[in-house]
């Protein structure tokens, strides 16, 4: 028997409260039928005896105490899954919006997911060639990794993400299935991604979930959960290597803040809820590989740092969970360098085990270390030059400055569709280092020098 509840007892932001509900279970999905005929979906977030609090995904506009009929579904949020979802476009709650009809599900799955048992994980160590020198050489992407892009408004993170999708290649061949989740992005951005996927001819292996800037924020909170459930299905049930692009995490966190404050929770830093870390972790940790199962989930979340501040809670907590980060720099962007990757704060934690002999090339880690430590010294030389002038610099510092310019103009800078192989990238690195005398290369042993150094 399905019980219908005819009244609401409180409406506050996106939350409604119902009294005298007896059969509710935590995080169950409820359907709210409004008098005007529309149906909305909600989720139970709090139970106090017979009083329940429901979060309404589509917002509470137009609801009154009496015009809404609520039914409990008895189930947590589930989405339909089948191989047909590839090539389709959905809204933020995984309902088709491309006019191609419903999905006939092979199975339905709870979107909250379950944590992967650390014992069952396989440690990721397969190099993904992105064709972008700054990433391949210095912050290598590994299959099964979660590597976010820290950007700022107006910088070229979308272009970078598209280039990654187009060029990403696993060493043993094979293509990625792509799950694209848009959270609170502008319509043009979503269009740009769709057109780029179409141009690159990858549309038939892309699943798109779109929650645009004017869509309800509660829906936005569910979007990445749906996207990752799809990704897990593609990866571990259909055994595809899956790349998940989530943009923009900042909008997601702000939606969470809005929801949390309407719930009256005690805020942590900058008004974000105290559980922001756990919440983000429950998304990011869904990347990975499982021992003995073909398929993987690789995540590239994109977030725009408010005011370019890397210590803001969103990039800060993200950095503590993800396995490294790619940081974009406005200074480089202004100078027209694309991709404007600031290599010093960028890092890939899984890189050390996925490069070198048998993966990329024996000299990779030495070269990366030397390039980074030399480039760090370039910054010191630049700082000194801005005080005493370039002419007054010592010989070494002058060499460093010219190395720095070359490095930015030739190594970092590349075309939107320029796809450099790992060998090209590494050779270019050595070519730049060869402009410096041997004694300035303190991270390289003699054997490597003999083989690669041409100065």
């Amino acid at each position: 028997m399905i019980i219908k509840h005819l009244k609401l007892s409180q409406i506050n932001g996106s939350l409604v409260t119902l009294d005298n509900v007896n059969e509710a279970s935590n995080e169950e999905i409820v359907l709210l039928k409004v008098e005007d005929g529309t149906e909305r979906m909600g989720r139970i977030v709090k139970i106090d005896g017979s009083s329940i609090t429901v979060q309404v995904f589509e917002g509470t506009r137009g609801l009154s105490m009496t015009n809404t009929v609520t039914t409990l579904t008895g189930k947590p949020m589930e989405i339909p899954l089948s191989p047909e979802i590839l090539g389709r476009t959905f809204d933020g709650l995984c309902r088709p919006i491309d006019g191609m009809g419903d999905i006939f599900p092979d199975e339905r799955r709870d979107v909250s997911g379950a944590p992967i048992n650390p014992v069952s994980r396989e440690y990721p160590r397969n190099f993904i060639q992105t064709g972008i020198s700054a990433i391949d050489a210095l912050a290598t992407l590994i299959r099964g990794q979660k590597l976010p892009i820290f950007s700022g408004s107006g910088m070229k993170h979308n272009e970078l993400a598209v280039q990654l999708v187009k060029q990403a290649k696993i060493a043993d061949g094979g293509d990625f299935a792509i799950v694209f989740a848009a959270m609170g992005v502008k319509n043009d951005v979503a269009m740009y991604f769709r057109n780029s996927f179409r141009e690159a001819n990858v549309m038939d292996r892309v699943v798109m979930l779109l929650n645009l800037a004017n869509d309800p924020i509660i829906e936005r909170i569910m979007t990445p959960k749906c996207a990752l459930t799809i990704a897990e299905y593609l990866a571990f049930t259909l055994h595809k290597h899956t790349l998940v692009i989530m943009t923009d995490i900042t909008s997601y966190c702000e939606a969470l803040r809005e929801y949390s404050s309407s719930k009256g929770e005690i805020p942590g830093r900058k008004g974000f809820p105290g559980y922001l870390y756990s919440d983000l972790a429950s998304l990011y940790e869904r990347a990975g590989m499982i021992d003995g199962v073909e398929g993987s989930v690789t995540q590239i979340p994109i977030l725009t740092m408010p005011n370019d501040d890397i210590t803001h809670p969103i990039p800060d907590l993200t950095g503590y969970i993800t396995e490294g980060q790619i940081v974009l720099d406005r200074g480089l962007d202004y100078r027209g360098i694309y991709p404007p990757i600031s290599v010093l704060p960028s890092l890939s934690r899984l890189m050390k085990d996925g490069i070198g002999e048998g993966y990329t090339r024996e000299d990779h880690s030495t070269l990366a270390n030397q390039l980074l430590s030399t480039y760090a010294k370039v910054q010191d030389a630049k700082a000194l030059a801005s005080v005493i002038g370039e002419d007054e610099l010592g010989k070494e510092d002058k060499l460093l400055l010219s190395f720095g310019k070359d490095f930015e103009a030739r190594f970092l800078n590349q075309g939107y569709s320029e796809n450099r192989s790992i060998d090209e990238t590494l050779d270019l690195g050595w070519e730049l280092l060869s402009t410096l005398p041997r004694n300035m290369l303190d991270r390289v042993d003699d054997k490597t020098i003999a083989k690669y150094y041409k100065g």
Binding site: A24, S25, S112, V119, Y275, V387
Partner: protein, 584 residues
Amino acid sequence: MQENKIFGINGPVVTVKGHTDLQMMETVYVGEKRLIGEVIRIDSSYTTIQVYEETTSLKPGEPVVSTGLPMSVTLGPGIIGNIFDGIQRPLTAMRDKFGAFIGRGADFDSLDGERKYKVKMLVAEGDSVQCGQVFAECPETPVVTHRAMVPPAASGEIISAVSDGEYTVGDTLAVLKTPDGRELELKLSQRWPIRNPRPVKNRLPSVKPLITGQRVIDSVFPIAKGGAAAIPGGFGTGKTMTQHQLAKWCDADIIIYVGCGERGNEMTQVLTEFSEITDPKSGRPLLDRTVLIANTSNMPVAAREASIYTGITLAEYYRDMGYHTALMADSTSRWAEALREISGRLEEMPADEGFPAYLPSRLSEFYERSGYTENLNGTEGSVTLIGAVSPQGSDFSEPVTQNTKRFTRCFWALDKSLAYARHYPAINWNNSYSEYVNDLSDWYRDNVSVDFMRYRDEICSLLLEEDSLMEIVKLIGADVLPDDQKLVIEIARVIRVGFLQQNAFHKDDTFVPIEKQFKMMELILHLYERSKQVVARQIPISRVVATGIFDKLIQMKYDIPNDRPEMFDEYKNEIDILLDGILK
């Protein structure tokens, strides 16, 4: 018995209405699925329970079953080499039951009840035993002998005992009759509540260093066995890497590695790496002396809060057997955040940055469980605590870092700019400190060299001097400095790059014996002393630099293998010949 039913649910917090017979801090089973929970607040109208698992699909009206026992762990053989979640459920058994993803509501025996151990009994019928006394022992792994002890509160006479043989953790090995007439079965395993420190006879001063093989730690900021240290650092500064290095190479007998709210892949890495790497001392895989506790960031938050206590209780148990144990907690900030999250759900009044007001007292309770002790059974053991701290926004003034600083005596501050320049370990020598230096100086004098502390102080003062010189260099460049100051800068570069920086991936450099560390310091300072003579004779220091001897010293960590200390004499000769030549 009264039946308790769920009334309210809010995230991981569940309430039961009315007066209940539930006790504070006792373990309960919540709901039809029997999720594990703990009672955290009782008032006249509600009893509040935090649940250690996801509460999705829980309903009001489902039962809450009391166990009458506080949150406890099972102590016994089979702990070492195992990997547990935050409330000591074995993750391998969970994989066998649920598959790759962690399911809910399962009650697992922490220790394998089937496995038989070869037990040697140390007591016989009629013996009188004291609390904490070892009554039996068995090999747990090839390097660890497990000593089964009489529980801390019990003593009396053995009224029956089995003979040597093969037994499981559940078998009764002996029966003890206490003076008040109770009979107590002694088994290989016992239970202990995780929030209570295990008692000891005496606390002893910490005067022996924990040798880690990391130069910046052993030689510059040493930690004592039984000490407590904090490693604060922003993301990407190498906290986890440093913790891994310590877990691999430090000379404790038992390592407890707690991954508290960190990445799943990191735990996998520890698990695979530690079963591959062999311990140089025993020749066995490192996993034979290691226990892993994994509560990754996406596992339930309440269990994350418990994981730290589970870890320290295991460490204390092995300490009681007379072992030196070290606990690495990565990261205590996640634990503090778990406290904050639960406190928020309870609608408690927040203090600094939303953390509960009891954060400092919880932190101090935790760090005070470290120590070098005389145990109840007369053995000596220690628990060393090394906690990573992840300050928000790399800001060391936040509450967790500040409070941790108050209760630890060793502070290894990781530095972003060092990490960006790929200087690892990125321990900043200007704002790190160790209060153990004085306590340990006698040990260094007796076991390494009378000069050790003098050299260490000299190295530190050179680094300090360089730091203030760099202020000038940043403004006007290095060329204008007088030669004696140029020498300081050059020698400090050798100290920084050649000594403090250490390569975890190099076979010799990943672990450096203390004797080699001493010789390296000696050689660097020898070069400094000889170069000072050059400067005193008004000869430009650039002539010494041009010989490449400074760069050669920077490379000595790679060029001199750990087992060839005699090579230091060759280096010393070379320095003397070179500088004698210049002085002529």
